[in-house]
Amino acid sequence: MKMKLIVPLALAAVFAVPVHAASSDELDMKAREMMKDSFKETGIAKKHRMLQLDFQEACSQAKLPPTAVMKQIEAEQMKTIKWPSDGKYYGDWKEGEKIAISGRGLTWRDKADAENGGGCYNCHQLSHNEISYGTIGPSLLEYGKLRGNSDEMVKYTWGKLWNAKAYNACSNMPRNGDAEILTEQQIKHLMAYLFDPESPVNKR
């Protein structure tokens, strides 16, 4: 589909008058070229990062895609979720807190083997103690206390942490597990941070 567009456009370019206003398709094409040509590789940030996955492309407009497309993306993303290999959902909330606070990793200044942070506080309120929290995502204050720890809630939370797009196709939240931002162990620590009654998320 995209390949077919290239030929007529190339021809059009030859005959194009300078003031010719580009059509929406032509602009889409130009934009794709721009997103390729305007970037360079630096450190671990390789150029292929500019290529879009299907769902990324579908979610790259001011408006959300149609419900059917959203549902399809969610179903596909749901399949990527890996459940804890040993059946244990919880790690250490103290480690979880460090991961929630750290926003480091995966930029062109970071090393490939560096441990990434979850950056949770960039977008969410979590504990009673940390006043510096973002509001892009909902407040998760007293997460476990308010929601309980039913199997359903625990599984939902694990899944959301692993791949938020399985529940909301165009979610702002990264696919922590699926995109290998965080390890399984790190996600366990975050689970403990959210659910442990001793965690400052739940205990004042």
Binding site: G103, G105, S132
Partner: protein
């Protein structure tokens, strides 16, 4: 020239260069005469810094006022102002308890200058900030907690 100055010169601290510069006429003599209180600036505890300043244990005074935010958006730049309503205020110092070197700045206030200074300091973490004022030869202080927050995307 006070004792502190002499001791520092003997110890051959950071002031050697200053002396040389002054001798070479590169800096104005009055600048070289001011004594950088190495002992106080290098002190690792509040008590040590206070004693190097000759302040001992200053008493808290409502006449010393700190103007500073309750929360700093960034610890790299924290505005701190100190006003003293004590008569004959000679010196105002700003100390940050949890910094590795707690003494940040010290101002000598000659007659005719108002005991009212403002500057900006770095803070590594949430800490009490002290204003220490020398007036009529005696030391007084005030303190205020300033919260330092983490900010930005953190990457």
């Amino acid at each position: 020239m006070n004792n502190q100055r002499r001791a520092t010169l003997k110890a051959g601290g950071g002031l050697g260069m200053l002396g040389l510069l002054a001798a070479a006429g590169l800096i104005k003599p009055e600048l070289a005469e001011a004594a950088w209180n190495k002992g106080a600036f290098d002190a690792k505890t509040l008590d040590a810094a206070m004693s190097a300043m000759g302040a001992g244990k200053p008493m808290e005074s409502a006449d010393v006022q700190i103007s500073a935010p309750d929360i700093a958006e960034n610890g790299a730049v924290v505005p701190v102002g100190v006003v003293s309503n004590l008569p004959n205020t000679e010196q105002i110092s700003i100390m940050i308890e949890k910094n590795p070197n707690m003494l940040a700045a010290s101002f000598d206030i000659p007659a005719g200058t108002l005991p009212d200074v403002q500057t900006r300091v770095k803070m590594g973490q949430t800490s009490d900030v002290y204003a220490v004022v020398k007036a009529d030869g005696k030391f007084y202080m005030a303190k205020k907690e300033i919260k330092v927050t983490l900010g930005g995307c953190g990457g």
